[in-house]
Symmetry: C2
Subunit: 75 residues, 2 copies
Amino acid sequence: MKAKVTVMLKSGVLDPQGEAVRHALGALGFDGVEGVRQGKLIELDLASGTTQADVTAMCERLLANTVIESYSIEM
Amino acid sequence: MKAKVTVMLKSGVLDPQGEAVRHALGALGFDGVEGVRQGKLIELDLASGTTQADVTAMCERLLANTVIESYSIEM
């Protein structure tokens, strides 16, 4: 069983990594990139019987820093 | 206009970051996590008129290291 967890910085939280990518794309001549946010995608290979509640607990305890990051789960 | 770029290590390429997450989840008592792969999710805010070909060029030139990473684009 597979689960995909997406972790992004909350809007309003400064994203220096995304900003660096935006700057680098501009320097390479890619115009029209107005904003970049970079987050994490975590693919979990789970034993069958693992519930969405388990994955939520993983996010809350380890995968996301919920003070500054939001997460979404796709199973 | 928004585009989402997902960059993952190719299968077969060692993913120490994912391995560390798998180990940490086990240490926290989450059984049944058989594998973890960690990648990047890049959200681009683009000027209208930017084509998928432009985003592909961004991936090839900057966002992904195509030797070891694969990418997918969602627009």
